[in-house]
């Protein structure tokens, strides 16, 4: 049982029932990242899928990537630093589309990004319409500080799993903790179970 803080009443947002425990709703779009924003020229940008043998299973240049069938998911996002943003509108390519035709028995994915960032997820969490690589936000090109030219979007997990500046997916038989997952943050990160940190 939590202790009561004398004199605390709280601001109490409407819609609080729509968000996971411990979160609050923001209208803006806060930025969180561990280092400087990288700027990769589009002519040097590519997106690669590496299979569990280390072989390149697929690769797209920026122009090729933009020709892939696009989707426009509208989703709620939840950052481990407590903010949630409802009804965010994105444009990009479903990971189902990217994985189409790739034979794999891997159970895990390590997403890798510019700035040496990585994050790990079960492959099952990236299939069946649960994950996208997005390049548009709210009808505009995705801003660099929010992960442009393209970022991962896996809205059912805390938002650090949605790697900014993503450049590819590495399929793996083994689960390998990524950047924040090695620094005290939860390996799976389900916001509805409030899996913020190791041991949660």
């Amino acid at each position: 049982m939590s202790i009561v803080s004398r004199g605390f009443r709280g601001r109490r947002q409407p819609g609080a029932g729509l968000i996971p425990p411990g979160q609050y709703i923001v209208d803006g779009f806060p930025v969180l990242s561990a280092g400087p924003t990288p700027f990769t020229p589009l002519e040097e940008w590519d997106f690669t899928i590496v299979d569990e043998t280390g072989a390149v299973a697929a690769r797209w240049t920026w122009d090729e990537f933009r020709e892939l069938p696009a989707e426009a998911p509208t989703v709620d996002i939840h950052c481990v630093t407590k903010w949630s943003k409802l009804g965010t509108r994105w444009e990009g390519v479903s990971v189902d589309t990217l994985l189409d035709g790739i034979e794999t028995s891997a159970e895990f994915v390590i997403a890798f990004a510019d700035g040496d960032y990585t994050t790990n997820l079960p492959l099952a969490d990236m299939r069946d319409g649960q994950a996208w690589v997005v390049y548009g936000f709210d009808g505009e090109e995705l801003e660099p500080e929010h992960g442009g030219p393209a970022r991962l979007l896996v809205p059912h997990l805390y938002f650090w799993k949605s790697a900014k500046w993503v450049r590819g997916l590495r399929l793996s038989d083994d689960d390998e903790p990524g950047f924040w997952e090695s620094l005290g943050y939860h390996n799976y990160a389900d916001p509805w179970r409030e899996q913020r940190y190791w041991g949660d």
Binding site: G10, R11, V26, L32, P36, L183, W198
Partner: protein, 240 residues
């Protein structure tokens, strides 16, 4: 990670909007300079609100110290800065974050760049440097709006010892003619003037609001500092 009961032992008004809370947390596991904690408040009817705050006290200090800026329409900061008194209790859990930390276990020069309340985790590093007698050269570049907005003003004067620790203050909106120090934002010119040249390969820590962190970290990379040596921590406008 478990929630721990924190009892307010002392409150210090730092600026008009900023308060430091010194907390007794009986089973605090210890922390590294630069880490933060989650704070949870519970109302009588069970309503709860959580926020994260940087730790201002150095590792090993007697009390856990948080410095909190009041966000007027916030849920947690108005309570912490204007309601909480000595003896009041709430919950904390942590420490959290293993990236934006300085342990002081070598003598690599350190460049700390803070904007507004972004100075708080950097202050934990300055205090840790002082407490451990580190001989690493540590330089703090701190941007505030006016002199009255400078958090830890007196202590910063003491910490800048003319030797291993230096502090450069720049004020973006100070109108007083008495202020003869740096004016304006932290930019490439200021970092070039007071920071170390990139060949020294300092560890860089940048903390503040997003536009500040974007500008400073890009200026550092532009000056030739390796991106991998520039660690950032951002406080959003909604860090209530």
């Amino acid at each position: 990670m478990l929630w721990l009961v924190a009892t307010v032992a002392e409150t210090i008004a730092e600026t008009a909007r900023t308060t430091t809370l010194r907390l007794d947390v009986p089973v605090w596991p210890g922390h590294r300079a630069g880490q933060h904690v989650d704070v949870r408040l519970t109302a009588e009817d069970g309503y709860q609100a959580q926020r994260s705050y940087s730790i201002a006290s150095p590792p090993g200090a007697d009390r856990l110290e948080l410095t909190v800026v009041r966000i007027d329409d916030g849920d947690v900061s108005p309570y912490l800065t204007t309601v909480a008194e000595v003896g009041d209790q709430f919950e904390v859990r942590g420490p959290v974050g293993g990236w934006f930390v300085w342990d002081g276990d070598d003598t690599t020069p350190v460049l700390l760049v803070g904007g507004g309340s972004g100075v708080v985790p950097l202050m934990a590093m300055m205090r840790h440097h002082t407490r451990t007698g580190s001989t690493a050269a540590m330089q703090l570049v701190y941007s505030a709006r006016t002199l009255d907005d400078v958090i830890y003003r007196d202590e910063l004067t003491t910490l800048a010892d003319g030797g291993h620790r230096a502090v450069t203050l720049t004020l973006t909106r100070e109108a007083s003619p008495q202020w003869t120090g740096h004016c304006g934002r932290v930019d490439t010119d200021l970092l070039d003037e007071v920071g170390w040249p990139p060949p020294v390969r300092p560890r860089c820590y940048v903390c503040g609001p997003t536009p500040f962190v974007e500008a400073v970290s890009l200026a550092l990379v532009g000056l030739g500092h390796e991106a991998a040596r520039v660690k950032t921590e951002r406080f959003g406008p909604t860090g209530a």
